[in-house]
């Protein structure tokens, strides 16, 4: 804020004779610039060390054969050619990550929104239920995943036992190539408390008089949701969707832990069972950290970054068009 106000003050200076000639003014200007840079320096240092430098190096290393131990050497586009034509696992990883974005993200947004709407309407015990629904988000992802794999163990887990009591033959869950991703989705839904809280805050911020006006106009609850609630909270829905899409693109910990826990070995084949939980980030990890192909892993990271950017920009554009249309109505 300090930096902004400095710049704003400078911008408001009245026009006068050309100040370039006066050494005193020049010195003052230099001091101002240094002050601005000093105010900016925490951001500049953070941006440089934690974003710009890693980004530049990642792009450079993606064109090299590097193991991050010996000196890298330039190999041109070889890593990218390997990715698109030869990597045996990459398309499986892309399909799995695409599935998570297409199914898990909408499911999570809808579930969190649904729970938020229910808890927003609660008259009694609202605090208790909001806490209960939020609590799973505090569980460490590794512990939560291990617990879920145990609960859904097809042989000894309570979920299939309970399903058996009502005559349902439970699936193999984390041990089945078909059911492993739905099981991971259930884990994500269970832990979507943070998104629920964000939606809840947005829902409680919707002006009550808008609902009253809509009721006077004779709308039904569905129409009130469509024409009052949704337009008001749409920036928050967009925010939640963008962050969930990026999280799905980077989905790693739960898939890796579920795969190893279900297989019973840290040397589980990547994406056990049947490659069904192999995500793009896992493929990147395996290439870079266990197979000494850090150059190739960097190429994967560059593609992941580009795809995340494309999705984010596309979602933001789509949403801004939606908002404008709503505003004109």
């Amino acid at each position: 804020m300090g930096t902004l106000s400095l710049v704003t003050r400078a911008a408001r200076r009245p026009p006068g004779p050309d100040p370039q000639t006066s050494p005193a003014v020049r010195a003052k200007r230099r001091r101002t610039r240094i002050r601005i840079l000093l105010f900016l320096s925490p951001w500049i240092v953070g941006f440089t060390v934690f974003l710009a430098y890693p980004l530049v190096m990642t792009v450079w290393l993606s064109f090299t054969n590097s193991d991050m131990i010996s000196s890298p050497h330039f190999v041109g586009l070889r890593n990218y050619r390997y990715m698109f034509s030869d990597d045996p696992q990459i398309w499986q990883a892309v399909r799995n990550t695409g599935w998570l974005m297409a199914v898990m993200v909408p499911a999570q947004v809808l579930f969190a929104l649904g729970v938020a709407m229910v808890t927003a309407r609660l008259k009694a015990g609202a605090g208790l239920f909001r806490t209960l629904f939020y609590l799973p988000a505090l569980a460490p992802p590794v512990a939560a995943t291990v617990a879920f794999v145990c609960l859904f163990n097809p042989s000894s887990g309570p979920v299939n036992k309970i399903l058996g009591l009502i005559g349902v033959h439970g699936p193999l869950w984390f041990d089945s190539p078909v059911w492993s991703k739905p099981a991971l989705t259930l884990l994500t839904l269970w832990g979507s408390g943070t998104m629920m809280v964000i939606f809840l805050a947005a829902l409680l911020d919707v002006p009550a008089e808008l609902y009253e006006a809509a009721e006077l106009d004779g709308t039904n609850p569905l129409q009130r949701f469509r024409y009052v609630t949704l337009p008001t909270i749409s920036p928050v829905v967009l925010f939640a969707t963008v962050t969930a899409v990026i999280a799905a693109l980077q989905y790693f910990t739960q898939a890796m832990v579920a795969s190893q826990t279900a297989d019973g070995s840290i040397q589980a084949p990547p994406g056990y069972p049947g490659g069904s939980t192999l995500t793009f980030s896992q493929q990147l990890y395996t290439a870079g950290f266990t197979q000494f192909h850090m150059g190739y892993a960097c190429a994967l990271a560059v593609v992941l970054f580009a795809v995340a950017m494309v999705f984010t920009v596309a979602l933001l554009r789509r949403a801004s068009g939606f908002n404008t249309e709503e505003a004109t109505q």
Binding site: L4, V7, T8, A10, A11, R13, P19, R29, R33, I44, V45, T48, A52, Y53, V56, N65, S66, M68, I69, S70, S71, P72, R78, Y82, D86, D87, P88, Q89, Q92, P154, S156, L172, D175, P177, I198, A202, P235, V236, L238, F239, A262, D263, G264, S265, A268, P269, P270, G271, Y272, P273, G274, G275, L278, F289, T290, Q291, F292, H293, G295, Y296
Partner: protein, 465 residues
């Protein structure tokens, strides 16, 4: 909550032209990036050629760190006991041992410049990557300077601890694989001797299997499902004498008929059980490295496993009445009977070790001192990796007939291992998903599938060149 994008707009001062201001800011941001880039991102720059460590006679007190992967209480106690012997011999060297470390962590520590002075691994497949990249230091000069007699280490063991002419690790005990069988269940099924051929193994497995009334598996005679405990392709194809790589390092799984034969045998047995039933049974099996191990609890009658299981069975106080035998072999390869798969634990000095002279003393002691090798092997129930230790009276385990089986397998000239590759044995990692698809019936044409694996492995190998 949502930040409007216009709020990021900042107006430029008209006093400093916007473009010049932007250029200065860009220079300010880019200068440190370029400086960092110029500094390089690899751990320590170029690889120095192998040379003997200076300071071999230096007795200044020093503390070195040693990372190993052992984690069971009895194994950690055994490491500490052998380190106490080392400290007795070299009182000025104190070793700080850290247990339960993985290869990925070691790699990251090397890359980050925080490597331990000495590191060990269960996974000899990584030796190729470590030697090729220089992650572990070449020990040749130290070996020559100290006149270490390498002939006391069997040739097969020497082969998997070096790569491409670089000896960057030493063998620190070996793991040898064979068949464990439950004598009580054998007697109940009327089986008098362990199987010697894969056909006999399949027949015995069927006889020993008991199903629940609902059709699920109660006791598995043998778990053919790849990925169950130590039932992995590299242990299976050894019974057919399979060779993973050609001499030039390219993939060999389609050219070598052993792979198709082994996988066909395995799939036939999987189909007899039903892949779904096996997957469910596998999910209910207890943790491999615990007293709930399904062989120790009697839920699996036969299994392929390493010699360490003998020590685990004793330490877990399991009452399983068991015997051991070499792995059965393919019907048309009787000459292979008595051999098996050997996998080694390796130990070396990572790049960036702060006290390489003291580190070498520890590596040399742990891998070549007969008493250290024999007593440690005895304590954790592994196979010693020097001929002197194999014959040492300190190796009391040799008198245990169940353990002696593995010593015989280890000594067998046909015993083999998986070759090292510069990408840390990626050909094995990448075979895992194929094997899974195969056993779940998702590979309609095995030969074409294996040819595809060859093509993929060869393409992956080129990434390291």
């Amino acid at each position: 909550m949502f930040i409007h994008r216009h709020s990021f707009t900042v107006r430029h001062s008209p006093v400093v032209p916007a473009r010049a201001h932007g250029r200065r800011l860009a220079a300010f941001v880019l200068a440190p990036i370029l400086a960092l880039a110029a500094a390089g991102c690899s751990a320590g720059g170029s690889n120095s050629p192998a040379k003997a460590d200076v300071g071999a006679d230096d007795t200044t007190p020093v503390t070195i760190t040693f990372w190993h992967g052992l984690s069971s209480a009895h194994e950690v106690a055994a490491v500490n006991a052998v380190l106490a012997k080392f400290h007795q011999k070299y009182p000025y060297i104190t070793v700080q041992a850290v247990s339960g470390q993985t290869d990925d962590k070691v790699n990251q520590a090397i890359r980050g410049g925080t490597a331990p002075d000495v590191a060990s691994s269960f996974n000899a497949a990584n030796v190729g990557g470590w030697c090729a990249s220089g992650a572990f230091q070449d020990l040749s000069a130290d070996i020559a300077a100290d006149h270490v007699d390498m002939s006391q280490i069997p040739q097969a063991v020497q082969s998997y601890t070096a790569f491409d002419g670089k000896r960057c690790t030493m063998p620190w005990l070996a793991d040898t694989f064979g068949l464990y069988y439950n004598k009580k269940l054998f007697a109940a099924a009327g089986i008098t001797a362990p199987p010697k051929t894969m056909t006999e193994l399949a027949q015995d497995a069927k006889k020993l299997t008991v199903f629940n009334p609902d059709g699920s598996i109660k006791t598995a005679g043998f778990m053919p499902y790849l990925g169950t405990y130590q039932m992995v392709t590299e242990h299976l194809v050894t019974s057919w004498g399979g060779k993973w790589l050609k001499p030039d390092g390219t993939s060999n799984v389609a050219s070598d008929p052993a792979f198709a034969a082994a996988l066909t045998w395995q799939k036939n047995l999987v189909d007899w059980f039903g892949a779904g039933k096996l997957a469910k049974f596998k999910a209910g099996m207890g943790d491999e490295m615990s007293a709930q191990n399904a062989f120790e609890t009697g839920n699996v009658a036969m299994m392929v496993d390493g010699e360490w299981r003998t020590a685990f069975i004793k330490n877990d106080k399991s009452d399983v009445d068991y015997g051991t035998a070499p792995m059965p072999v393919a019907d048309d390869k009787p000459e292979l009977y008595g051999s098996g798969y050997v996998g080694g634990n390796v130990i070396g000095i990572p790049k960036g070790s702060k006290h390489p002279a003291a580190a070498w003393k520890l590596v040399k002691f742990l891998t070549t001192d007969t008493d250290a090798v024999a007593s440690f092997a005895d304590a954790i129930g592994n196979v010693p990796t020097t001929i002197a230790a194999l014959d040492s009276p300190a190796l009391t385990l040799a008198q245990d007939p169940d353990f002696a089986t593995f010593l015989e397998v280890f000594k067998n000239p046909a015993t083999s291992t998986t070759p090292a590759s510069p990408d840390g044995g990626a050909y094995l990692t990448d075979f895992g998903p194929f094997a899974e698809k195969w056993q779940n019936g998702q590979v309609p044409d095995l030969k074409a599938g294996l040819a595809g694996v060859d093509k993929q492995n060869d393409a992956a190998l080129k990434l390291s060149q």
